[in-house]
């Protein structure tokens, strides 16, 4: 098995009396793509928010690169090297593409000791990053509100590819993308993983999961209902795990 990057150990989360997560245990290896599947309300998004620092678990612990880890804010998770792409897009539509790409990481240049935004340097970086990914946006200075849903999602995806980090969490990243863009997005994920970055992708589309993932983890009613290597399972078996008809093939992979 690969060297583990993030280990989740009996993560629980209560919202009042409702137990959204009832003890989630699994791990993500370096350079591994894990597809997180499950029905609506199974707790996938909650889990992603806990890893990325948006929510705190009620109990349980996480090990990131072998050390106890618990992000209290998204900023802390980011500092540790965890990037997240959310299903409801995290773009500020009132500013331009460059500003969104560099949100929270703006390049500055000191003039008389005062740090001012270095727009030129930022624009060059964005231009290069988007060109590499084959994304075409007419002007990087247009406000994002004037861009289409697909273009917006492309910006988000390029942003995570560019900033990389150590672990990337993608919460239904292709919801608004066309066929060609989705294919390119899946390629991007592979590229990122090949650099040794761990990737967790939440999706509803079985085909995508089988196309890109090394391992498939199924969550059902707040527990891990299945954790299998892609090569050792089939879409039908996974669907059964999601709906809970059969637990055959469940249990940690590679054991």
């Amino acid at each position: 098995m690969r060297e583990p990057l993030l280990v989740l150990d009996t993560i629980r989360k209560n919202f009042g009396a409702i137990e959204a997560l009832k003890g989630i245990t699994f791990s993500i290896g370096k350079g591994e793509v894990v597809a997180l599947l499950g029905d609506n309300g199974a707790g996938k998004s909650t889990l992603v928010k806990i890893i990325s620092g948006g929510l705190q678990p009620s109990s349980g612990r996480m090990l990131f690169e072998g050390e106890e880890f618990q992000a209290k804010t998204p900023a802390e998770a980011k500092d540790a090297g965890i990037e997240t792409v959310y299903q409801d897009l995290s773009l500020c539509t009132n500013v331009d593409v460059v500003a969104n790409f560099f949100m929270g990481r703006e390049i500055t240049r000191k003039i008389l000791g005062v740090p001012f935004l270095d727009e030129k340097a930022m624009e060059t970086v964005v231009q290069k990053a988007l060109a590499n990914a084959g994304t075409r946006i007419p002007s990087l200075r247009t406000k994002v509100e004037h861009l289409s849903g697909g273009q917006r999602q492309a910006i988000e995806l390029n942003r995570f590819v560019h900033w990389g980090g150590k672990l990337v969490l993608l919460d239904e990243p292709f919801a608004a993308l066309g066929v060609e863009q989705t294919r390119r997005g899946l390629d991007m994920i592979r590229q990122v993983a090949d650099q040794g970055i761990g990737v967790v992708i939440i999706t509803h589309i079985m085909q995508q999961a089988f196309q890109v993932a090394d391992r498939i983890v199924v969550i059902r009613q707040g527990v891990v209902a299945g954790d299998v290597e892609r090569s050792k399972t089939s879409p039908d078996a996974v669907i059964e795990m999601i709906t809970g008809q059969n637990l055959a093939g469940a249990g940690p992979a590679g054991q």
Partner: protein, 331 residues
């Protein structure tokens, strides 16, 4: 539509308030006798300094997606604090410092500190305890004015120390220093909003707070700073107000809040947050001031001013809607 005409159109839309200002000045100059004079224009700039400075603070908070109704009362309290300390008549204590110029920084510090503290109080309640900005600052609007009344006992302070008054009397290029202070503030804060990380972050917080939080921007800290700045800037406008009137009365600056709102909205700042720039707000302030001057020159009763301001705000909001429609068609 060619890219060129599109660019021109966008440029006009972005700077619409400046064209309006120019248009209004030309019309008034043509129609109102004695309007076209350098003295009148200097007067327009001078008369807009207090309102202008106050509008800066208000704009910062509104651009960040919040609201500050307390700026008017904060300005009044700062003016009263300066008045009580450094006026020699009325309720003024007439404190003298030597050398005399020392009174300038000290009085300025007092005004900024009073404003900044109230801003901090507002910001803490609104951002940390997540209370509604409208209600919290409405409460501050009321209680701070109450403090002004209580401190002054309804009386006034007159005869501000000459060393401080100097700023209203001394002129540079025909414009008093108080107005230059306002212009300087507009330049400094415009640069801050457009060219620094803090300004960029405020803008983005106003656009999508969740996104900025997820991106690791320290939203809470930035917003509290914005409220403190709004308070301190209101304090500065109070300092200017005390200088202009050479003292402070209990009802100093009443009604300024609504003028500031009018200027901010006319200047192109959207009340929903995330949209607008400070140079436009200055144009908005100048526009209001030119209209006031026109009303004075035409000898209309001053009571009409408020009616006209009200309709101006309405017109500004209509214009804003119209602009957004047009932009959508451009995109």
């Amino acid at each position: 539509m060619t890219p060129r005409t599109r660019k021109t159109l966008e440029f006009i839309l972005d700077n619409l308030v400046w064209f309006m200002l120019l248009f209004v000045l030309i019309v008034f100059s043509a129609l109102i006798p004695n309007y076209f004079q350098l003295g009148i224009f200097a007067n327009i700039i001078e008369a807009s300094s207090v309102l202008g400075v106050m509008s800066i603070g208000l704009s910062l908070v509104i651009i960040a997606g919040h609201m500050d109704l307390s700026v008017e009362s904060v300005a009044a309290l700062s003016a009263m604090a300066v008045g009580v300390l450094f006026c020699s008549a009325g309720i003024g204590l007439g404190i003298k410092l030597s050398p005399e110029w020392l009174m300038v920084p000290v009085s300025l510090m007092v005004a900024l500190a009073v404003g900044g503290l109230i801003g901090l109080f507002n910001g803490f309640l609104i951002v940390k305890l997540k209370m509604n900005a409208f209600i919290i600052t409405l409460a501050s609007y009321i209680w701070v004015r109450g403090v002004v009344l209580a401190v002054s006992g309804g009386r006034s302070a007159q005869d501000l120390a000459p060393a401080i008054r100097w700023f209203a009397i001394q002129r540079l290029l025909g414009i008093p220093l108080t107005a230059w202070i306002a212009i300087l503030c507009f330049v400094a804060f415009s640069v801050m909003m457009a060219k620094t990380r803090f300004g960029r972050h405020l803008m983005m917080i106003g656009g999508n707070e969740t996104a900025t939080f997820r991106a690791g921007i320290r939203v809470t800290r930035n917003l509290i700073i914005a409220f403190v700045l709004a308070g301190a800037i209101a304090g500065l406008s109070g300092w200017l107000l005390a200088i202009r009137t050479s003292g402070a009365t209990a009802n100093l600056g009443v009604g300024l809040l609504f003028n500031a709102f009018a200027a901010v909205v006319i200047g192109g700042v959207s009340l929903k947050g995330g949209i607008g720039a400070l140079p436009g707000v200055y144009a908005g302030v100048l526009l209001l001031s030119s209209i006031n001057t026109a009303i004075n020159l035409m000898g209309l009763p001053a009571n009409f001013t408020q009616v006209i301001h009200g309709f101006l705000v309405l017109a500004a909001v209509l214009l804003d809607t119209f602009k957004q429609r047009l932009r959508q068609r451009l995109a």
